[in-house]
Amino acid sequence: MALLTLEGVSKAFAGVQAVRDVSFVVPAGGILGVMGPNGSGKTTLFNLIAGALRPDRGRIRLRERDVTGLAPHRMCAHGVARTFQHVRLFPGLSVRDNVLVGLYHGRRWGRRWGRRWGRSRAEPDPERAVAQLLAVVGLSAKAHLRAARLSLLDRRWLELARALATGPDLLLLDEFMAGLTPAETAAAMTVIRRVHAEGTTLMLVEHIVWALLDLSDRIVVLSAGEKIAEGPPGAIATDPAVVDAYLGAGPIEGMPRGA
């Protein structure tokens, strides 16, 4: 079943077409990776899905419901959560309180509207829910530390836990692996797989291509705002169009060589 569907989504800024007629489907329970070189429109696409931007054309559907152009907090209430590339935590609150905010905020909406959407959202035991989430990301021991005092990687975990606390069906990860060492990236991939195993559908936008190819079961490749490839990781990594997009089309006819 398709959880998220994009149909012909386009967005332009001041005459520059950032995203052009992009369509794809994120199946429920899958992990979709989105990749592309600098300036390919990945970030814009991400923001369009998360609700931070409104598409000029096209439709975005969550299951059957049209969610095109809905604001981020409404998207959250519908079960779409996101992380931020430049981690945006509440630095003065403790780790536990940061997660609690996600728990109460996301679920509070859900409690009011949950019945209408057929999703049960009541959370009888917040403490237990927080403890579970912290265990998934490995922050249990640091629950009472102030968020400002965490290391970069730990802050990413906290952001992830907080997003998960809103109880999403679809989790959007925005360059989650940026700036991590290879060891940290491997740890991040383990946690992401764990989250996926618990039933959350994931969509990842990443620059760290090898991690993306390893994690995703399906990949969409963007270049200059357009979708140029879609398929399983193995096919994508060897697709000549993808290689061209990343490495450039090469020396052009008539251009001086090896000066």
Binding site: S151, P233, G234, A237, T238, Y246, A249, I252, M255
Partner: protein, 253 residues
């Protein structure tokens, strides 16, 4: 006629040597024990996937990012102690990513500002004519406000402006970003001409294949460390480059 000024041709060699430098943004480790070398009148390319540290390396050399551990040597002088405008005065110029023109000023004003330093000021008029000869389109638009130019023209102004500082080493950070292939071709051709005029070029470029085709030598950067080095043509064929950008799966098939 070489581009650099009189005092520089007096026995100064123009060798850039980066020795084992580290750099970080807060806790984010950006560069780890990176060493590169650019000889006079070479074109050296720096390739690597996004986030590998290419921009950071250029900014470290230019003096915009502090270097921790290791040294940046230009003609045996440690650039680490200098402020960016002093680095320019020594003959190392950076064309930053995104052009960064002064949009409210005219093309000519932008170019003229390149000749701000004492060394660049002498022979400024001649240099300006030289730039207009290399970029005839700019001569037509010299009184136009820089902000109204097309992307390709803006890139030409950015390169021209850096050349006005009379560098012996010109560094460029992704000059082809956002430009149409025709323009990229023209621009890379310009770099050849610049090189022929005696300026060394250190190039970070998104069109990796074109850059490797153009360069004499290249370095491959990954996760802030140098993982490959060789002649441009050799690296072109090296599967390590493909792996760096697209991961190990790219090596199959």
């Amino acid at each position: 006629m070489p581009i650099w000024g009189r005092d520089q041709s007096r026995g100064c060699r123009g060798v850039l040597e980066v020795r084992q430098i580290d750099a970080a943004y807060g806790e984010l480790r950006a560069l780890t024990r990176v060493s590169v070398r650019v000889e006079p009148a070479e074109i050296v390319a720096l390739v690597g996937s996004n986030g590998a540290g290419k921009t950071t390396l250029l900014r470290c050399i230019a003096g915009l990012v502090p270097v921790r551990g290791g040294r940046v040597l230009w003609d045996e002088e440690d650039l680490g102690a200098l402020l960016p405008h002093q680095v320019v005065e020594r003959g190392v110029a950076l064309v930053p990513e995104g052009r960064r023109l002064f949009g409210r000023m005219t093309v000519e004003e932008n170019l003229a500002l390149g000749a701000f330093g004492r060394r660049a000021r002498e022979g400024r008029a001649a240099m300006l004519e030289r730039i207009y000869a290399i970029f005839p389109r700019l001569a037509e638009r010299r009184r136009q406000r820089a902000g109204t130019l097309s992307g390709g023209e803006q890139q030409m102004v950015a390169i021209g402006r850096a050349l006005m500082t009379r560098p012996r080493l010109l560094m460029l950070d992704e000059p082809s970003l956002g430009l149409a292939p025709r323009i990229v071709e023209a621009m890379l051709g310009v770099l050849t001409e610049v090189h022929r005029a005696g300026v060394a070029v250190f190039l970070v470029e998104q069109n990796v294949r074109a850059a490797l085709g153009l360069a004499h030598r290249a370095y491959l950067l990954e996760h802030g460390a140098v993982v490959g080095e060789g002649r441009g043509a050799d690296l072109l064929a090296d599967p390590g480059v493909r792996r760096a950008y697209l991961g190990p799966l790219a090596l199959l098939g």
